[in-house]
């Protein structure tokens, strides 16, 4: 167990009386890119919220680098090196593009990523840096959201539905940045509804269905039928 960068054990999550996750077990090794697939309401975003500390759980249900973090607040989790790119981008509308990036880095973790490196990764952001973040296109906003997370120099990057609502060509350009992001040894968890996209960029995958892991394995080792059974439950 101690070898994993992140390990989630028997994780349950509730919204009031509604139970969203039923005993999820899930691991990420250092430098791995893991895909989480599943239909709407399968519990993918809840899992991301639980790991990042936006929902708190039992301490030992989420273990990061050997330390229990399940009961920590999101700012404490972030300080330990987990960054979430939230679903729907959620930039700060009162902040300019550059301010959104800077605030991602104010946590004070140093490393490869800096404002300059983010601008090298997404050059369009440098041109737009003084604009209000809401004036950008959806794809550019997603770049800001990813850049903002990278500015914290995380060791584990969580990407929640980064392709949602974006044009295919934009999605392609965003995913093209992924290898550069993880080449420095960063681990990543990618939540994605587009199965083939998810499997093509990941080493392993987990499929969630109604709050449970319905299938897991090496990306590309399963047949289409197996995955669609795990995805839809039929």
């Amino acid at each position: 167990m101690g070898d994993f960068e992140l390990s989630v054990a028997r994780l349950e999550a509730h919204y009031g009386d509604f139970q969203a996750l039923f005993g999820i077990d899930f691991n990420v090794s250092k430098g791995e890119v893991i895909a989480i697939i599943g239909s709407n309401g399968a519990g993918k975003s809840t899992l991301m919220r639980s790991i990042s500390g936006l929902m708190t759980n039992g301490a030992s249900q989420v273990v990061f680098q050997g330390e229990p973090i399940g009961d920590l607040r999101a700012d404490e989790v972030a300080a330990r090196g987990i960054a979430l790119v939230p679903e729907g981008r959620q930039l700060f509308p009162s902040l300019s593009v550059e301010e959104n990036l800077i605030i991602g880095g104010q946590i004070g973790r140093t490393g490869y990523w800096s404002l300059q490196r983010v601008y090298e990764l997404f050059p369009i952001l440098q041109e737009r840096r003084h604009q209000p973040s809401t004036s950008l296109s959806g794809g550019q906003q997603q770049m800001v959201a990813i850049g903002r997370a990278l500015m914290a120099n995380p060791e584990l990057l969580l990407l929640d539905e980064v392709s949602l609502g974006l044009a295919p060509v934009v999605i392609k350009s965003i995913y093209e940045a992924l290898p550069r992001i993880v080449e420095g040894g960063m681990s990543a968890v990618i939540v994605e509804q587009d199965i083939s996209k998810a499997l093509s960029v990941s080493t392993r995958f987990y499929c969630l269905q109604e709050g449970r892991v319905s299938l897991e394995g090496k990306s590309g080792s399963q047949t289409r039928e197996e995955i669609s059974r795990a995805y839809f439950g039929v």
């Binding site: 990042s52 500390g53 936006l54 607040r73 999101a74 700012d75 972030a78 300080a79 960054a83 979430l84 939230p86 959620q90 700060f92 509308p93 009162s94 902040l95 301010e99 800077i102 605030i103 991602g104 104010q106 946590i107 004070g108 903002r148 914290a152």
Partner: protein, 287 residues
Amino acid sequence: MDWINSIVQGVLLGGLYAMIAAGLSLIFGVMRLVNIAHGDLIILAAYLGLTVATALGLYPLVALLIIVPVMAAIGYVLQRVVLNNTLSDDILPPLLVTFGLSVIIQNALLEIYSADPQKMDAGALGTASANIGGISVGLLPLLMFATAVVVIAGLQFVFYRTALGRAFRAVSDNQDVAQLMGLNKRHVYGLAMALSLAVVAIAGIFLGMRTSFDPSIGGGRLIFGFEAVIIGGLGNLWGTLIGGVILGVAQNIGAQINPGWQVLAGHVVFLVILAFRPRGLFPRMTG
């Protein structure tokens, strides 16, 4: 000439209202908390200033060096220990709690200082005046207005040019995502309240040097602060200064017509502006 004089005096008085309003506006902007105890905190600052100035033999404005950090510390602790627990999607709990706080502060001040009106000795500055174009302008009101402009400019700088201001705006925009950026919102809220009460301290000392005060007058100052914020438009600090000036001028013109109309005239102008521009003259905040 009397009219011009009362307009000038009103403008200067507006500086005080703007300082009162700026602290209110800051807190509402960052955490959607309406601080009903704001006026009483100003009076508390005035009494603390009086006590420190008397005990240490300091000039009231010098006492600011002590009162500003003390009020800021009170603000931080108050926010972390009490007010943070009241914040949720429901805006009613903080309203009730700060209302209770208002009653507590008033009664504590009454217990300690009695109901007798007090005034801080402004010394020579309190009576000094300059003759500008035939209008006699008091140096204290002039200094008060200049301070208000500096305070508003300072807040504007903090809000839009510093890491702290970025944190304020981020938490105000989206608490969850701000938390993901490593910002502990409870701490950020504490700092916002500290900053608000630092401004309250300045307003309180000037108020105490300018007029006499007793424990019960906080509520009245709160109303003026609210009116200045609303007239100027929520979330716009320079608008708040203009709101304060409009209110001050309206009151002084009212008083010029009939001494009994001073406060009334201010409220009437407020209502008229609210009727025609419900979001204030220079609204910035949306939603």
